[in-house]
Symmetry: C2
Subunit: 331 residues, 2 copies
Amino acid sequence: MTSRDEILNLFRTNSDHYISGQKISHLLKISRAAVWKQVKALRELGFEIEAKHSLGYRLLAAPDLLLASDIESGLNCRLIGQTVVALTETDSTNAQARQLAEDGAIEGTVVVADRQSAGRGRLGRRWESPSGVNLYCSILLRPQIPVQQAPQLTFLSAVAVAETLEKVCHLSAKVKWPNDILVNGAKISGLLNEMNAETEQIHFVILGVGVNLNMLEEQFPESLNYPATSVLLETGKSVDRLMFLQTFLRCLEQYYAEFLEEGFTPIRQRWEGYCDTINRQVRVDQGSGSLYGTVVGLEPEGALRLQLDDGRIERILAGDVRPVTKKMDRE
Amino acid sequence: MTSRDEILNLFRTNSDHYISGQKISHLLKISRAAVWKQVKALRELGFEIEAKHSLGYRLLAAPDLLLASDIESGLNCRLIGQTVVALTETDSTNAQARQLAEDGAIEGTVVVADRQSAGRGRLGRRWESPSGVNLYCSILLRPQIPVQQAPQLTFLSAVAVAETLEKVCHLSAKVKWPNDILVNGAKISGLLNEMNAETEQIHFVILGVGVNLNMLEEQFPESLNYPATSVLLETGKSVDRLMFLQTFLRCLEQYYAEFLEEGFTPIRQRWEGYCDTINRQVRVDQGSGSLYGTVVGLEPEGALRLQLDDGRIERILAGDVRPVTKKMDRE
């Protein structure tokens, strides 16, 4: 824990009275000047700290910032979040996590940021990442599974996000193959997983997760080629980002342990339960043309199982899947 | 082409007579001092260059060095080897290729080295890489295929190595699942492919190829847990490394184009034709125990298709495969 985090902890546990600079200096074994420097830094982050002559400091209000010490405290996970890196701003949490992974960071390391200056979505597209309202996080895993099974982790993280949206926000979430989470047909979360592997060994997988939590209508970019939403827009209430993140990480820990123990089947079944197009007629647009059929589930390696009209099963590895509602859509 | 390569070209095309420093300086538009510096550098690399007063320079003998200009010249590939990086020594060609890939190198970039100081084999094991006798190379690809199909490229490079051993060295090569090439039951080549990908997009794949060409018995490490060999040991003749490499790269280019056009099937069929255990009884040792069955081929995603005694098909994604010759082996 940094001394900034330790001072914040002292303020929080003493929020009903003043605590003197001298006492802080004594407790944390740092100089009075260092205490003052950290108080200044906390104020710059948006903390309201009252300073009263001869009494000391008192925390009046805290901004909605994700701090490593807050995330770690009470998380109660064995693997996920043993190391948390919380940044006020970064280019992209995936890029930070990749760097940490290459430098040997332990499995379960979590990177979160209040703002991303270069957040990325699918296929290199931009992911809008305004400050302090949403969740941008990346989790580093080092599973000892065959390379071909790594894409299964995308579905694991999709299920964990959907379940967290239900638990914490009481929203009915759907998953859209391969890596979106929808609420009322609009995108509320996107997943971007990265992998570094050699023939027989995965070096690391990074689960990148973006969830639109408290984003306002005016914070969405004007031109989006899909409907998007946030928890705030759907429920009319803002959500505690820390509680959301901790619930999500606990969910991820549980499903990851189950995945390593029992394989993909339980995750696949949950994912199919959340799937927005299961047993529905869809059109799959691929570079080479379109396919029509009924979504019947997920293949073991993460392909979408599509039953064509003539009964044949196609394994879809790439493409855009859209529900087909009327015969006319098929012309 | 560097000025060193250009001078070497001049020496080679004028090997029957002397060429003056003044003429080289004029032709290449570099100073006389620069000419002298490059001649000195070439001598340090092992080139025998005669210098005769008032006549100039003449190339007497060239060492068996892999030079970028030699590799590029007469390669006649459209994709593979448009950029060649030839190093006298490096840590590992895969590590160099990975760095180049991250810096945006084009598809088809080839990295070769005369010596690797930290050559790696499967699962982080050391790959013995003495100077100037073998082939150590890495090819950068950026295929637009689903992540799940990337392991298929291992089998593509295995087929290209086996075919090159047949064509250039007249050896009967076999492939051993997942990534070895054998001659007379001993390992002559190993493949180490690396991948960097996100959910729907491969950033790059690096095909790492090590082939024991002119390695002598005493150059093999004393303790190897498998029999190993080289072309020289098998045929009694040394092989021209440049010709071997160029033939291999042309073969790779042809099969890669076919793979992008027609998919995995033709590669899979060739690989099965070279497979050392096809239609044979094997034991597969996995962390959790052993399986017995008959190898019946490759699955679309690169798993080994094993038919168990009760007729069921197992997809093997990891493990050591050994032929079983007697009933007694099964105890």
